[in-house]
């Protein structure tokens, strides 16, 4: 479903991604962990071409993202093509980024109508179902500012699902939440995983990575240090850097609920 091969990314002179290779199969949940500044967010943003890349290839659903190949060179696609590709990939942000001037319902129907060209009636019909699924049927008319962080993030998930994405990207979806609100968001994500949604989740929630993640990749300094089944990488890491990083989450291993301190 998602294949990342040899991806490099520079910001000015800093190379932030130094040759990333990752594969995510259909229906798989990949959890990306790693210290701050290791390039996790940048990698996610490359996957839906919110950032350009300097080298390498990213395929989603068998299609090269953002570029077409012409011999040795990669040529950036026209905007219309990029928009079409992005519509297949949902993204959930750390700070929710709900459209502040729109109600919950309007947030969810905006893109299906404006991008997909679905009729308003159909979009509303589908939105009712999605909003109910994330447990917010009673809040359809509310503006984002009136919702708790956990509620906003659940709306953001519904908004992403409304585009019927083939792949969902989560960038630290619970890092901006008060501890008591984390559970409700993770629960929605678990149910998506159970339904077979393909997901890439950047997270510091080790318990979630262990239970819901099929595989875990540990990133540090712009490279994937190690990747493998969650049970192996989290429980018996092979690399010293992974071990050192995980040591900070010892508490999480013991009681299964403690979270990383926010950075």
């Amino acid at each position: 479903m998602l294949r990342i091969a040899g991806v490099r990314k520079r910001f000015h002179h800093d190379e932030v991604l130094k040759g990333i290779d990752l594969d995510v199969a259909e229906g798989e949940v990949l959890c990306l962990i790693g210290p701050s500044g290791s390039g996790k967010s940048t990698l996610l943003r490359c996957v839906n071409h919110l950032e350009t890349i300097d080298d390498g290839h990213i395929w989603v659903d068998g299609e090269l993202v953002g570029y077409r190949e012409a011999g040795e060179r990669l040529i950036e696609l026209p905007e219309r093509e990029i928009c079409r590709q992005r519509a297949k990939v949902g993204m959930v942000f750390q700070r929710f980024n709900l459209f502040a001037h729109l109600t919950v319902l309007e947030n969810v129907i905006e893109a299906p109508i404006a991008v997909r060209g679905i009729s308003r009636g159909d979009a509303i019909h589908a939105a009712h179902e999605l909003i109910a699924r994330v447990g917010l049927a009673a809040k359809e008319g509310a503006y984002p500012a009136r919702l708790s962080g956990g509620q906003q993030q659940r709306v953001a998930i519904a908004r992403a699902l409304a585009m019927q994405p083939r792949l969902l990207l989560f960038d630290e979806p619970t890092s901006a939440l008060d501890p008591e609100l984390v559970g409700e968001v993770l629960e929605v994500m678990r149910s998506l995983a159970d339904d077979g949604m393909t997901m890439v989740v950047v997270t510091h929630e080790m318990a979630f990575a262990r239970d819901a993640g099929d595989r875990v990749a540990f990133m540090d300094g712009g490279v994937v240090v190690e990747a493998g089944p969650a049970s192996e990488v989290l429980v018996a890491p092979r690399h010293e850097r992974t071990r050192a990083f995980l040591a900070r989450f010892v508490g999480a291993h013991q009681d299964g609920s403690a979270r990383a301190g926010r950075t």
Partner: protein
């Protein structure tokens, strides 16, 4: 039970009394002034020539505001563009039109024929009538100020809103139009309203090129009957009517936006 007695404020009373007396004295001085002929004012307040000038002023202000709004958005987007050429051009525009007196700009457009006798196949004086020159001068000037206001409005919208819109598959133009600009509006409207009120008054400057506005009409009459003060008072009345209406409109619009976007800030 004790009765509450407010602290006495004799100085406040005294200051208020002085203000009232001073205003009354000024009003009487103007009203009883032998140099002001009230019949002249009454005769011209609703005279067809004055009302025509008033209409020209209103049309001038509305046209320039519309041009200014379009230019403002266009140049604001250019200033936020990745292209250094576009950014530079927009900065140059704002620098030039905000850095020179409006009066000079009006005189320049009004006397364009001295620079170019022809504009393409047309004679400059046929195209650049005083009214057209006025609209061009005011519109371009307004656009420079509006571009700063719009740019500030767009910058005030969290970058994440734009990212979220793009991530959903919206084009940059669609994201700007449907997501960013509606939110920027709440930040843009209050200063844009002040800008419009300034513009209403600035229209009077076009009288230097006989732009046909309210002040031009008043001056035409006063230069014939030599009743300068009376005709300035006639014009003053209408300017106050216009700016009062504009202030009321601004107030209503701000209230509406505040209600629609209740807590916009808290969301980000």
């Amino acid at each position: 039970m004790a009765r509450v007695v407010a602290r006495r404020r004799p100085w406040l009373w005294l200051a208020s009394a002085i203000v009232v007396v001073a205003c009354a004295a000024l009003a009487v001085a103007i009203w009883r002034n032998p140099n002001i002929d009230h019949r002249i004012i009454a005769r011209h307040q609703f005279a067809p020539a004055i009302l025509h000038g008033l209409a020209v002023t209103v049309v001038l202000a509305l046209l320039s505001a519309a041009i200014g709004a379009v230019l403002g958005v266009a140049f604001a987007l250019m200033r936020l563009s990745p292209s250094a050429v576009l950014r530079g051009f927009a900065a140059l525009y704002a620098w030039l039109f905000r850095g020179t007196p409006l009066l000079v700009q009006i005189l320049f457009w009004g006397n364009l024929a001295l620079l170019f006798q022809m504009l393409g196949p047309f004679r400059t004086n046929d195209v650049m009538t005083p009214f057209v020159a006025s609209v061009v001068a005011l519109g371009l000037n307004e656009g420079a100020y509006m571009s700063e206001i719009v740019r500030a409005g767009i910058s005030a919208v969290d970058r994440g809103q734009y990212d979220a819109a793009l991530a959903l598959g919206m084009s940059r133009a669609l994201a700007m139009r449907r997501i960013v600009l509606p939110q920027a509006l709440a930040v843009i409207v209050p200063p844009a309203g002040n800008q419009f009120i300034s513009l209403l008054k600035a229209t009077s400057l076009v009288s230097v090129i006989a732009g046909g506005d309210l002040l031009t009409a008043a001056e035409n009459i006063s230069s014939a009957n030599l009743r300068t003060i009376e005709l300035m008072l006639v014009a003053t009345f209408w300017y106050l009517v216009l700016t009062t209406l504009a202030s009321l409109g601004q107030h209503v619009l701000e209230r509406r936006l505040a209600r629609a976007g209740a807590g916009l800030d808290a969301a980000n």
